[in-house]
Structure formats: C-alpha cells, structure tokens
C-alpha cells in the first residue's frame, strides 16, 4: 500500500522460470483485489559488465548474445503473458538489460511500484533462496511478497 493506502502498481519480476510462473496467481489476486496494474519485468543479464579475467573479449560477440537473449525473452514473455494474463487488461511488459537486482530496484522507483511479488527461487534453482530475491527483499523501498515454490511445498 502506498501513502494513500492503495496498491496501484504491482511489479512481477519474471525470469521465465517455473517458480516465477507459480507467483502468477498471487499477482493476479492482488491486482484484482486492489485494481492495480501489473508490470512484468524480465532482465537480461548484462554480460559485458563482467571483467575480462582471461583477456579481452570481442564486444560484438557479447552484443550478439544479449540481442539473442532479448529476442528469445520477448517471444517467451509474450507467450507467458498471453497464457497467464489472458483477459487481464491492466498489465505491461518490459525487457531490460543489466544487473537484475539493480534494474528491479530502479524500476520500483521509476514506475512508482507499490508492491513487488516474486518467487523465492530463481531460474538457476541452486539455492533455497535466489540471489536476486534476497537482494530485493534486503533493499526494496516497498513491500515485497516472496512466494514459496511448489517444489518446496511438496517437501
């Protein structure tokens, strides 16, 4: 809720993982309850920000990889939204490049987000809590809802 006691903008950071998808019912329920807009955000990792530890690399290769990821992400996000958000009109989707946690935090400021909903695990699924989720909970200026993954609930 913002200062006026409303939730007008909900951010759903989405890395196109199963876990992200599992947060969707929660996002939709909140959006319908509060009449909020849903912002779907995919962040492509900016590979060029890594130091060239083993010597310089060709920047054009990095650019090609990022462009390919952006293209694929755009297609998959489109499918994702068409199936998951069908019939829900108040959503927008965006693809950005950069450090995922940094981009999400900037997005919160830029679009006056009132609440973030994200899954506990990320795409890599290596750890009980994803690194991006952790950074967002630790640094977000707005409330964050962390949803458990179905895999976790089966245990």
């Amino acid at each position: 809720m913002n200062a006026a006691g409303k939730i007008e903008n909900i951010l759903w950071p989405n890395d196109l993982s199963n876990c992200s998808e599992e947060a969707l019912p929660h996002v939709l329920s909140l959006a319908k309850q509060y009449g909020a807009a849903v912002h779907v955000l995919y962040v492509a990792e900016d590979l060029s920000r890594h130091d060239p530890w083993y010597g310089g690399f060709n920047a054009s290769h990095i650019k090609k990889i990022i462009n390919w990821e952006m293209k694929k992400a755009k297609e998959r996000l489109q499918e994702f939204c068409q199936s998951g958000l069908e019939g829900f009109v108040g959503y927008s989707k965006k693809i950005e490049v950069g450090d995922p946690a940094r981009v999400i935090l900037d997005f919160i400021d830029k679009y006056s987000i009132d609440m973030v909903v994200m899954c506990r695990r990320g795409k890599k699924n290596n750890f009980a809590m994803g690194g991006v989720s952790q950074k967002i909970v630790e640094n977000s200026p707005v409330p964050v809802v962390i949803t458990p993954s179905a895999k976790h609930l089966e245990k």
């Binding site: 809720m1 200062a3 809590m129 962390i146």
Partner: protein, 151 residues
C-alpha cells in the same frame, strides 16, 4: 484474497508501523488476523515458561488489541510460544492454513534502534521464515514507515 493473515511481531516500534499496514490489509480483505510473538528458546522450568507466555500475551494484547477494535476488526487471535521463533511461526502458519505472513526485515532494523531508515541485512528470523513458510511472506521495509518514506 487473504482470508487468514499472520503478523509476526517482536513488539518494537518498527513492528508497530508494520502492524498498521497489516491492519489495513486485514480490513481490505476482511481477513482473520493472527498475531504471533515468539519468546525464543527459554531456559526455564515449565511453570516459569507458562508464566512468561501469559505475561507476553498480555503485552501483545496491550500493544495491539485496542487498535484492532478501533479498526472494526473482530476476528483476531494472539499466539505466543517459546521455542525457535521462525520454526514456531511457520509451524503455526502451516497448521492454521495461513494465506500470508507479514513481518519486517529485522528486529535490528535501523529504525528499531533509533537510526536511519535504510534497509539493513535481513534478520535471521525473517530469512528462515521465508525459507520455511508454507505460504507467501510479505516483508515490509522500514522505508515505508509514514513520514520516513523514501522519495
């Protein structure tokens, strides 16, 4: 949306603000509001534990019940227990079928110790609750506190 809300408190000033947010959430959703206060592991005998729980329940009631009634909510419960806080709280959430747990980032959040509103590292209780919770966990940052909000 949320029919059962569990508010985890440590009775600090920061929790007071989080409680306001939780109250609004409960009102909006016409939800049942459960308040959990964990005493941690107590090195006391059974009688002393029972007394400590009784005292803590009175403290929680003092801190929140008046505001719950003022808000017009009637469906609420206070739950106090000893034992590991995150473990007890998530167990309660599981057994009672909670829809969401609401809590702050840390008992040691800067606002709680009279410093600035920047979000610090997550406290151990919220970190473990996120990992073990059977339902979504809503974390309210100190920066949301009225009058101190960023931006």
């Amino acid at each position: 949306m949320y029919k059962k809300i569990l508010f985890g408190t440590c009775l600090t000033e920061y929790c007071d603000h989080i409680f306001n947010y939780t109250l609004n959430l409960a009102k909006d959703n016409e939800a049942s509001l459960w308040i959990y206060y964990g005493l941690g592991r107590l090195n006391l005998n059974q009688e002393q534990v029972t007394q400590a729980i009784k005292n803590a329940e009175a403290q929680v009631a003092d801190a929140y019940v008046e505001r719950i009634r003022t808000k017009g909510l009637v469906d609420y419960k206070i739950n106090v227990s000893d034992g590991d806080v995150a473990s007890e709280m998530t167990k309660l959430a599981r057994n009672a079928g909670m829809d969401v747990i609401v809590m702050g980032t840390s008992t040691q959040a800067p606002i709680s110790i009279g410093e600035d509103i920047n979000v610090g590292p997550l406290g151990p209780v919220v970190s473990e609750t996120i990992l073990w919770a059977p339902c979504p966990v809503l974390v309210i940052p100190p920066s949301l506190i009225p009058g101190l909000a960023q931006g």
